[in-house]
């Protein structure tokens, strides 16, 4: 039984394996990903409130600032860089069409949250969409265009 200040972990990010990499125990996952050039994951508040660092871990959305890199051992991670299937292409097109990207800071988190929302395949009202993205701050759009883009994607895929 021993505790250490760094640990060796293995996991995959966007299908690429990271085998037996050494991470400091105090490092959160967002910082580790960014240190590997995966800078699509943004850091805003580092206390879970802003949502910019949202990623997918073992199939569900999580805040990567509130997960230690050491806790990712054995997991499978998708970041915004791994957003390439047909449905996610639709999401990106609709975000472009409705001008839902402005400064772009919140966009990675918004896209990851959208991924989780549309994976439930539920038809959501605009109010429900607003409540689903209530954990992601955007300081440019006033959310209107983001709700438009998500709504249109939901209509397209259902």
């Amino acid at each position: 039984m021993s505790a250490k200040n760094s640990v060796n972990i293995s996991f995959s990010v966007n299908g690429e394996n990271f085998d037996d990499v050494t991470v400091p125990t105090r490092q959160h996952l967002a910082d580790y990903l960014r240190s590997q050039g995966l800078t699509g994951t943004h850091l805003g508040c580092e206390q879970g409130a802003c949502g910019a660092c949202t990623i997918e871990m073992d199939g569900v959305a999580v805040r990567s600032c509130l997960v230690l890199a050491s806790q990712a051992n054995g997991s499978s991670i998708t970041t915004v860089e791994g957003f390439d299937d047909e449905v996610m292409q639709k999401v990106k097109n609709n975000f472009l069409k409705h001008n839902a990207f402005q400064c772009g800071f919140c966009s990675p988190g918004m896209l990851m949250t959208t991924k989780e929302i549309i994976s439930s395949k539920k038809k959501l009202s605009r109010d429900e969409i607003r409540s689903e993205i209530s954990g992601n701050y955007c300081r440019c759009t006033g959310y209107q265009s983001i709700v438009d883009a998500i709504e249109e994607t939901i209509n397209e895929i259902n």
Partner: protein, 280 residues
């Protein structure tokens, strides 16, 4: 900001975690990390070691045991919200959890973590007190059960001993004439409340027979409004009278979002909101 340095120990079973914790006073348990990691990132806490219990098997089970529904400490808020037994036996908990943070946080944050942390603004500790829940703790000398009413001692202070780990929460199942009704006032959906109320109501036809009022985001811990509940049963809703009673039995503490006077006002009108919900 970034977390201070600490070491990390991944516990494979409860015994390991208890042993480790009992040997190091400054080590803390890491469950979902959704309260602990913000505190570390903000440098509000500097433990020597994090004992990660999140990989321990079978601590996330949700099951019926006699007249109780038993929720394992590591069940995440999302696990609880998606569980069929909870939907069937304790549906109010699903509605309450919708008010706890946001989906990405609920995917990691655990039921036991919220109960053990005892944030006075959190929904679950007040829920556990209102439901008269039993909290199951495990330590060097075995298991013990503490009633939620006796578990919360003060601001982030609980009856959890330094060698103990919370392993489950047992909620007594409600009878058909018992209802758990809740409401809260908050600025943004998913944020901590400015004031909230868990009310356990026992009805005889449409008359209130018994009432427990437990507040959150009002003081240092889940605050019980015992005398006020009696007044409600006897005389119904009278703003001035109930406000005076609440002021005399709860020590309201203001925060960034709302002063103590405002919390007292919200606590009073929440009673009316609950009574209106009951009529529907």
């Amino acid at each position: 900001m970034k977390a201070p340095d600490f070491s990390y120990f991944e516990a494979q079973n409860i015994e390991d975690a208890i042993k480790y914790k009992s040997e190091d006073d400054e080590a803390v348990i890491l469950a979902g990390g959704q309260s602990l990691l913000p505190a570390l990132n903000m440098r509000l806490s500097s433990p020597s070691c994090l004992i990660d219990i999140s990989k321990i098997n079978n601590l996330n089970e949700i099951k019926i045991e006699g007249d109780f529904i038993n929720i394992g400490a590591l069940a995440t808020h999302s696990d609880v919200m998606n569980n069929d037994l909870v939907h069937e036996k304790l549906p109010c908990l699903v509605d309450i959890l919708k008010m706890v943070a946001h989906a990405a946080i609920r995917n990691k944050g655990t039921h036991g973590g919220s109960i053990a942390y005892g944030d006075p603004a959190a929904e679950l500790p007040a829920f556990a007190v209102a439901m008269n829940a039993e909290i199951v703790l495990s330590g060097l000398s075995g298991q013990r059960i503490v009633n939620a009413k006796d578990f919360y001692l003060g601001l982030f202070e609980t009856d959890l001993k330094s060698d103990e780990i919370l392993i489950a929460i047992r909620y007594p199942l409600l009878d058909v004439n018992q209802h758990l009704i809740f409401d809260e006032v908050c600025r943004r959906h998913g944020d901590y409340a400015m004031a909230g109320l868990m009310a356990k109501v026992e009805l005889d036809q449409s008359k209130i027979n018994n009432l427990d009022l437990v507040y959150f985001a009002t003081g240092d811990k889940p605050n019980v409004g015992q005398n006020t509940a009696k007044l409600v049963i006897d005389d119904g809703y009278d703003y001035e009278k109930l406000k005076k009673s609440l002021a005399s039995e709860i020590d309201f503490a203001g925060d960034l979002n709302s002063s103590s006077e405002m919390k007292l006002h919200l606590a009073t009108i929440l009673i009316n909101k609950i009574l209106n919900k009951l009529e529907r």
